[in-house]
Amino acid sequence: MSALTALTIADARAGLAARTFSARELVDAHIAAVEAGRGLNAFVAETFDHARAGADAADARLAAGEGRLLEGIPLAVKDLFCTKGVRSQACSKILEGFAPPYESTVTANLWSAGALMLGKTNMDEFAMGSANVTSADGPVVNPWRRRGEDKPLVPGGSSGGSAAAVAARLCLGATGTDTGGSIRQPAAFCGIVGMKPTYGRCSRWGMIAFASSLDQAGPLTRTVEDAALMLQAMAGHDPRDSTSIDRPVPDYAASLTGSVRDLTIGVPAEYRMEGMPAEIEALWADGVRWFREAGATVVDISLPLTRYALPTYYIVAPAEASSNLARYDGVRYGLRVEGDDPAEMYARTRAAGFGREVRRRILIGTYVLSAGYYDAYYLKAQKVRTLIARDFEAAFESVDAVLTPTAPFAAFAIGEKMDDPIAMYLNDVFTVPASLAGLPAISVPAGLTADGLPLGLHLIARPFDEPTLFRAAGVLESAAAFGHRPPAPGEAEAA
């Protein structure tokens, strides 16, 4: 593995600014890594020419001292983002061959900050999944292995390709999207940082919709500081997204002061889930201890409605998805399977184009919105969602951040949990409440399981209080001193 691919974004910026290496060298090193790492199936499209051309332009700017925030930084982009002229298929067969004539706001923001795209990353189809096994482009392999085993593990999902690519040093950072945990859970499974900003912080324009009231773009990186740098470029108001919030984007990296002495961290009793592995409990306790040692106040809190979060999420998200995915009808773009009349064409197209999990969620969503069921399911779920948000509001009157595990278990083998959707949905049990409340949250790699797999700790903060979230996460990162990395492709773990 080249030294250039082991850099953080912050280090790479410094090296580029000092002309220690060129953007072209940085990009070429990553192109070689992507090629060597193809066995992970993390990328579904490679845009090397684009990256090389961009690197040369970046070098010119850097030489002129005009480097921007992410000048010359090679990134990967989740296939859910529309990228102009480059396949944007949400890893679904129904969008086969779709390359949009427009660029999503979030990726456009990254490119105008000087970042470069290496390619598009694999994901669960339409972001529906927690193991990257529902992708029409096949499963992604987690670069981590259980100690002494070679069984391929899932990277988590839905941003599994992005998480695997960042963990395996194929890119310096990647975009993800998080609807119920799709950035944070794969970050935890792959031993990296995954951050979901406040709902409305990043524009959803040009992001293929799963559940509009929950979807948020965010960064996957190897450090908290890198996440802060990436979000800095991604965030901002966009008049083309009515749910985007018009308020200034603070200097996130500057918020990483290393001090949490003035912060109160809450530990919610309700996240102590039955059957959760002892090593996750222990890691959580480590997190508490680290914060105390760093001078923070840690208090027990209650978020009483936590147990309703997952059922609420699995009503609201499929309801919105059932409507959002109605546009994939074979009429204007993507896959079309002809029929004798429109109804037959729809049925054939959608049966052939959508995978099982997507079909399941469309059916659930259609059901909960149907006449006679709407009040009992959708309306009730919306009320519970409001109450869950109030739970957090109440908690945030006395604490600045909430500390929980990111997921109730570590990465599992590809093929596991496939026959039980409910077991699969449990992946998101700790991440979904913050999604429902629209709160910023981050997963920080904090330890390993006994058999050597990464585990994450999860912090949740007040709306638009990303600075506090990054500050606390930075302290957690330093205290955990994770330092582990998966073996490079074709190499045994060096540990």
């Binding site: 949400a90 509009s212 083309r240 009515s242 109605a326 546009r327 009808d329 204007r332 429109p342 709407y374």
Partner: protein
């Protein structure tokens, strides 16, 4: 109160009808409700389609503020409650000309609540029709089935265009009232410039809900007749649908809640879908759009900006110019005409102006196939013509000819008078010479007249007019003749 009059004579006595209208009015706006694509009528298929209208992946709707203002103005003109918070919902159904698979509409929380429209009946009485609500929604595209044998084509130019759905209470009691309601509503929309009211181009379409009952009884089960695109069809559809229901009920049947279509060629309604076949639209709030909130101060400013509305204007015309209710009602129906009257009648004989507008001007517009609303005659031209009539420069007949030319060419009134030789001869000497000539040529008629056959006066006037080539001022001719014959 039900209006006296409209009753359906069944075999077993009289029936009364109750009708409510749902009018879809296309909002006058350069851009669509949720995208910046243009809305001009008659453009090349699919030339006015944005990424949002085509429901491309990842595209998001953004509400057009102008359309919101138009809906609020309409609500204010209908004397309706303006809801300071309203919500956009998705109405989900699959159709090839509906790209997102849902129509963005307002279901449980519309932007405008209860209001009213006052109708002027022919006998001078008034009736009030309640408005239930007005909401904003986007239009669908158009499926074209006859362009290709092997496929249906879709034109998305109309997809996303802003519509106001204006729903009335079932207060209408006759086909005529339905026609009056639709015309009055159209007049109001045109006054405030929120809908051009053009039914041929589909800017205004109506669905009618029809039920029948024994006079004074409880409302019967209604049927909805959809997509009527002229006032005449609305009236006819109500008439035949009500008759169908009466016949059905008298035969011992029951009216089923259903959606029907009007076949104008055969003059019948046909079932389109029954209640059982009705769609489940799965309405839910559109998560891409925040609730729409209005600033009360802004609503008040819009209220202050409203022009004088037809009812108020009519009352003013009656009070200020002594017009009859009927004449005032006719003049205010089209705003352009009312504006014309306002400008010209001031300091002139208002009755003469009113009569000229309702007679020769309306005739000329009709002959040219121009809607009264689009009257091209400028106020100064009409004023000049009225003045030329008043001072005897042109005859009433001549003025009718002039106005036709003004309507079709837009040319100057005095130039037309000269060119067409319509200037009347009022010169006393010239007229007296003609009178002398006619008297000299007809001694026997003069004798008859002087013997008491005074009815011949008219004949003499005709002869003099004829001799003048129709240019003599008839009043001057009359005076000169009388002086000569009676003197």
């Amino acid at each position: 109160m039900s209006a006296p009059g409209y009753r359906i004579q069944g075999r077993e006595g009289e029936w009364e009808i109750a009708v409510g209208l749902e009018v879809h009015a296309q909002v006058i706006s350069e851009a669509k409700l949720f995208s910046s694509a243009p809305t001009a009528f008659g453009a090349e298929p699919n030339s006015q389609v944005s990424l949002v209208d085509a429901a491309m992946p990842g595209m998001l709707p953004v509400i057009n503020r102008h359309c919101v203002a138009q809906a609020v103005r309409t609500g204010l003109a209908l004397e309706a409650e303006i809801n300071l918070t309203s919500v956009f919902d998705r109405k989900n159904y699959f159709y090839p000309d509906l790209p997102p698979g849902y129509q963005i509409s307002q279901y449980s929380r519309p932007i405008v609540g209860r209001g009213r429209v006052v109708l002027d009946l022919e006998d001078g009485a008034q009736r009030t029709v309640g408005i239930t609500r007005l909401h904003l929604e986007m239009d669908a595209g158009k499926s074209i089935h006859d362009r290709r044998a092997d496929a249906t084509c879709v034109d998305l130019n109309r997809a996303g265009v802003a519509l106001m759905e204006i729903v009335s209470e079932p207060d209408i009691r006759s086909p005529e009232e339905a026609g009056l309601y639709l015309r009055k509503l159209r007049s109001i929309l045109r006054y405030i410039g929120t809908c051009d009211g053009n039914m041929e181009q589909g800017s205004l379409r109506a669905d009618v809900n029809v039920s029948v009952r024994r006079p004074g009884g409880a409302l019967g089960t209604r049927c909805e007749v959809k997509n009527l695109n002229s006032v005449r069809f609305v009236m006819k559809a109500i008439e035949v649908e009500a008759a169908r229901q009466v016949e059905l009920l008298e035969d011992g049947g029951a009216v089923e809640l259903e959606t029907r279509l009007f076949d104008p060629d055969r003059g019948v309604t046909r079932s389109m879908r029954s209640k059982e076949e009705a769609h489940d639209y799965r309405y839910f709030p559109d998560p891409d759009l925040l609730p729409l909130t209005l600033d009360p101060a802004w609503v008040d400013a819009e209220r202050a900006r409203l022009p004088e509305l037809p009812d108020v204007r009519k009352a003013r015309f009656m009070a200020d110019h002594g017009l009859s209710a009927y004449d005032a009602g006719v003049l205010v129906a089209a705003r352009g005409i009312a504006d014309l009257f306002d400008e010209v009648a001031d300091e002139r004989d208002a009755k003469r102006v009113a009569n000229f507008i309702m007679g020769p001007l309306f005739g000329a517009l009709n002959r040219a196939g121009i809607d009264n609303e689009d009257c091209p005659v400028p106020a100064d031209a009409l004023a000049a013509l009225i003045d030329r009539m008043a001072d005897g420069t042109v005859s009433n007949q001549g003025a009718s000819t002039v106005i036709q030319t003004v309507v079709s060419t837009g040319r100057d009134v005095d130039a037309i008078i000269e060119e067409k030789g319509l200037r009347q001869v009022s010169d006393a000497g010239a007229i007296e010479a003609l009178v002398e000539q006619v008297i000299a040529d007809n001694p026997d008629k003069v004798a008859d007249y002087r013997d008491g056959k005074t009815k011949l006066a008219g004949w003499f006037v005709g002869q003099v007019m004829k001799a003048s080539g129709g240019k003599a001022n008839p009043r001057a001719v009359n005076e000169a003749l009388r002086a000569r014959l009676d003197g």
